[in-house]
């Protein structure tokens, strides 16, 4: 256990460094973004003096290093900064803009993950167990086509069938505060379905491949020869040894659910963090863009970290030293 603790600590420190590096990259990249907020808000007719005054008010006239340090310092105190937009009348903290949207995105991701992961694992196991059977080929063909079709098309097809032809669900998933869980679940049904189609394919195929790889090991033959029942062979003997790659692809899919769903959010008019970021980029609202990017980076790194730790923790060779 000692060795495991050390490994986890090591990975955590590495993760923190990665996040720091990402913050530098994000900050510098935005520095190079053409145009600035002051000029774009004040319009073409603004005098250079007005622009300069506005830049000073926003702190844009300070040297980049100083601004970076101020930003990071604020982050360490849990302060994401203040949005540029609407500053003159009501200063809006970035947290107020981003966090509710992040909450919505995480809700959508959680519901999708809760539905898609068990289905993917189950289909993957079945496909591995009945390898090259008709069932296996059917599942493979179906999942391959859902990967191949662009997700917005899947989304519109689903809307066409389940909201237009048979109006069972709403085509728009605009959540608002104060809704009950049941209402929310009903509203997100279609985006959840769409996203599930996309991620089930990846997870199912990786599960199938990992299990098939393990099934050719001598210890699986041994399990069969000692009369272990087929399902036990899969669950008790194959699955624990295939967990590493499977957990990795699950983490990857979950990260996608947080980071990569902007298209789906647009199609279903879902108030998630992806849309927020796209709007902020359009408005040159740099603090919001920075906050969103950093949230994405943290999500990615954390999920991969968790996957690594799970992979290590399920490997007895690493868990129990000689």
């Amino acid at each position: 256990m000692h060795a495991l603790g050390r490994t986890i600590l090591y990975r955590l420190v590495l993760g923190l460094f990665s996040i720091l590096a990402v913050s530098v990259v994000v900050f510098s990249a935005l520095e190079f973004l053409p145009g600035d907020f002051a000029a774009s808000v004040l319009g073409r007719s603004a005098t250079p003096e007005t622009v300069a005054a506005f830049r000073q008010e926003l702190g844009l006239d300070l040297p980049p290093v100083q601004r970076y340090l101020a930003w990071i310092g604020g982050l360490l105190h849990g302060d994401l900064g203040t949005s540029f937009a609407g500053r003159a009348y009501t200063p809006r903290p970035v947290a107020d803009i981003v966090l509710p949207r992040l909450g919505n995105t995480l809700f959508l991701a959680a519901v999708t993950a809760a539905l898609a992961t068990p289905i993917a694992l189950f289909l993957g196991l079945l496909a591995a167990l009945y390898r090259n059977s008709r069932f296996d080929r059917l599942v493979n063909a179906l999942t391959l086509s859902t990967i191949a079709i662009p997700e917005f098309l899947v989304a519109y097809l689903i809307i066409l069938v389940l909201a237009v032809k048979f109006p069972l669900f709403y085509s728009m998933s605009s959540l608002s505060p104060g809704m009950t869980l049941a209402e929310k679940l009903y509203l997100v049904a279609l985006p959840v379905l769409t996203l599930s189609f996309v991620i089930v394919a990846h997870m199912m195929r990786m599960t199938r491949a990992a299990i098939i790889g393990v099934l050719s090991s001598p210890y699986i033959e041994m399990a069969r020869l000692k009369g272990t029942r087929p399902w036990h062979v899969i669950f008790r003997h194959a699955l624990p040894n295939a967990l590493g790659p499977i957990v990795n692809v699950i983490a990857f899919s979950l990260a996608y659910l947080v980071v990569g769903v902007v298209v789906i959010e647009v199609v279903f008019v879902y108030p998630g963090i992806g849309q927020t970021m796209v709007d902020a980029v359009r408005n040159r609202d740099i603090p919001v863009v920075q906050a969103c990017t950093l949230i994405f980076a943290v999500t990615y790194i954390t999920l991969n970290l968790v996957a690594d730790i799970v992979a290590i923790a399920t490997n007895p060779r690493l868990l129990h030293a000689r």
Binding site: P218, Y219, M222, R224, L225, H232, P240, N315, P316, R322
Partner: protein
Amino acid sequence: MSGDETLLDIRDMRIEGESDGQWNVLVDGVDLTLKRGEVLGLVGESGAGKSTLGLAALGYVRPGCRIASGDIIFDGQDLLRLSDAERCGLRGHRISYVAQSAAASFNPAHALLRQTIETAVQRRLMNAGAARKKAVEQFRELSLPDPETIGRRYPHQVSGGQLQRVMTAMAMHCGPDLIVFDEPTTALDVTTQIDVLASIREAVEAQGIAAIYITHDLAVVAQMAHRIMVLRHGKVVEEASTQRMLDAPQNEYTRSLWAVRELAKPEETTPSSPLLTIEGLDFSYGKGFVKALDNVALTVPRGRTLAVVGESGSGKSTLGRIVAGLNVPTSGRLTFDGAALPPRLEHRNKDLLRRIQLVHQSADTALNPRHTVREIIARPLEVFFDLRGEACDRRTDELLDMIELGPRFATRLPSELSGGQKQRVNIARGIAAGPELMICDEVTSALDQLVQEGILKMLLGLQASLGVSYFFITHDISTVRAIADEVVVMHRGKVVEVGSQREIFAPPHEAYTELLLGSAPQMRADWLTEFLAERGPVARQHAQSTERNGGSTHV
């Protein structure tokens, strides 16, 4: 043996395996009967169909194989007519299996005890508490260390010999009528093998379990079996009681198997000068680690063979790699042909590299699978002798004749060669450089005995005609007898004994040499019994401590 009741009756068994879309016969019309409590030895070379037939006794065929015809009657039931679930119910309960590589056959994700009692608990033959208690009892009977707690360990935490005994305990846990042992000791060191053999035999005898014991090692099967069946190309060559089979083998092929063990190199009478001298050699992997080699000193005489003998973990391969320049010693001096031998590969000039060649144990991994035999052998000719075109081809053909394959093999790929042929090509590549010293690292260990004999004879012939010296690393005593002039016995990184072959094999021995020599099974049916009777509890403890400290698995 208890009673004359037939337990297993395999009739006219024909099993086929698919390769490249064709069905080849693996087992060809074999009849096999086994009485209750009887142990049948199944002997043959690799590819003879032993394992396939052994697995058929459990009603199991590997993926890609099929039973074409025949019946398998176990205790009155035809296994092939049962449903999958019924067959599954017999396995592990009434018929069980012990695999060759226990390290690969235990699930790395679960502790040993859990795997041992799995079948009993799943079938509700015992409750978990009783099953655990029984397993611990069996661990004790099989003389495993710490029987109470060893079950909590994971497979990678236990040595090869111990794992093999845990697997035997697992096979016997539900009180089966029949166990199929598939080469259970092939991967073990001789001193480890002996304890596993003894444990298996005691346990099987005590409970009157019938067994099929599969091996390619005749001396081993002679200790274990009441009756021996010799297989070749999927057919029965000969079948008789063990004593009869040892005393008077009827078939030509069987007799040739017996003859292999008698190969012995005659003593050289002419004196020889030293070619390679090693003095005060130390080596450890990184700083602060245990020494893998400790104050090693030895001499390889010119034109002779020095055999370096030891079990896994003795440091013999590391020593070979140091001579080849692949590992750099911590301290010590190497002298080659009168001059200091630079320890680092990059400090050796091209001619020095040519004069010392290394031949690896596994030709499968040492030969590039995409190169033809000609390309493989021509490479050193190009590098060291700058031979090109026709001259190079001519020399390659000569070398192919020297390794008794001939020019027609030149265009083949390694995948189109048998194991023995691959090893010959591997050796030819070393010989092509025209070396004075050839390091042979377990070059015959993975081969069948008849093939081994051919390669050893070829190596002796090459030595006689080319005057090359061999630094011959092996763990096998009969190989030493066949090829060595001088012998170095190594144990845990130290040289235990040095001398000519005659000196080493003649008493008095160092204690470890004694153990090593004594542990090599002999072709007498009662050898193991005598050995165990003679060996005091002290020797047994010694063997176990060796096993616990070393990895003790040959791969």
